[in-house]
Amino acid sequence: MSSSTVINFEERKKRKRNHVGDSSSGAITNLSDDSAAITTNASVSSKNIDGVFNENSSSREDNPMIEIFHLHNCFRNAIQDLQDDCAELEKLYDSKFVCDEKGYSCCDSEDKDLTEVRELEGTIAGRFQVIWSVFAAHSKAEGMIYALYNIFERLVDCASLYVLSVAYIFVLYISMSKMNLFGRLSKRSLQSKERQVKLPHMMLTRRCLPVAQL
């Protein structure tokens, strides 16, 4: 196996760390600076933020809706990281474990190679569980919108819309609360294990989301 085809694991991890601040990969940048303004660079997010704020909003930072967009961007980053890790796992595996035409495996330093693959698989599994948990809570809570809407379905149209809006806010805050609970659990696991997994809650806790302060 050519050395050029072998992915240096440390380099890969370094790239992953830098990936968080890469403007092309996500919406939240420069997580190391808590006081920095949050920038939104994903085209969809940026467009939506501009589109949703009305003229009464003095600025994005003053508008509570920005928190919801931050939450969504955290989701996007977490999903993107999961996707990237899976692609990298495929690439890593193909570079480490190859079979020649005779069907023999020809792996260098097998134990080390396998350790790297296992480590990345563990990272993927951790990311996946967090994302699944958050979206499951979000979907479950979102269903409450319709239950609430049925309660008020006989009200005038404007009021119904208003109720729907309130319900949606409620759904989002449930999701945020759930995220924080998982974040606390993950923090404990991070302290007790050598293997560190970058989880989306870390982005939340370093941002201005009110739920992260509770």
Binding site: V52, I68, I169
Partner: protein, 139 residues
């Protein structure tokens, strides 16, 4: 001013959301099963050609499935931002959103059942907005 019902129908389709959620759940379960199998194979990895190729297939499937799921979830988030958040922005002011959020979070974090708090909060906010909504409708 368009009627509230038409706006709701245009922007928030219950069946569509339910289908989205069902699709998401299927995708999550499928990937979860795949991850379990992959973990098991890696745990008992014996470097045989058969196992190496089986794991290779799983890893490839994992990458494919995750890509599909990522596209679905991102579309879900975009849909919420385009259809739901403008409604919230339109019908609630900053203080109401903050007040409601604080109230709900404190109840939820404190372990009190959030179900009982919903009607009370909605009722309180609804009463405050009802007059305004009627005024807007009449105007």
């Amino acid at each position: 001013m368009p009627s509230g019902s038409s706006i709701v129908e245009n922007h928030i389709d219950q069946e569509e959301y339910e289908e989205d959620h069902a699709d998401e759940e299927r995708m999550f379960r499928c990937i979860n099963e795949l991850l379990k199998k992959l973990k098991m194979h890696l745990k008992t990895f014996d470097f045989s050609v058969k196992v190496i190729e089986e794991v290779r297939t799983m890893v490839s499937m994992l990458s494919t499935y995750t890509g599909r799921m990522a596209g679905h979830l991102k579309a879900h988030l975009a849909k919420e931002e385009e259809s739901c958040l403008p409604l919230v922005e339109k019908h609630l002011d900053t203080r109401e959103i903050h007040d409601l959020g604080e109230c709900l979070i404190s109840k939820y974090i404190c372990g009190l059942t959030y179900v009982s708090s919903i009607p009370r909060n909605l009722s309180r906010l609804y009463n405050g907005k009802k007059k305004l909504s009627n005024d807007v409708t009449n105007s």
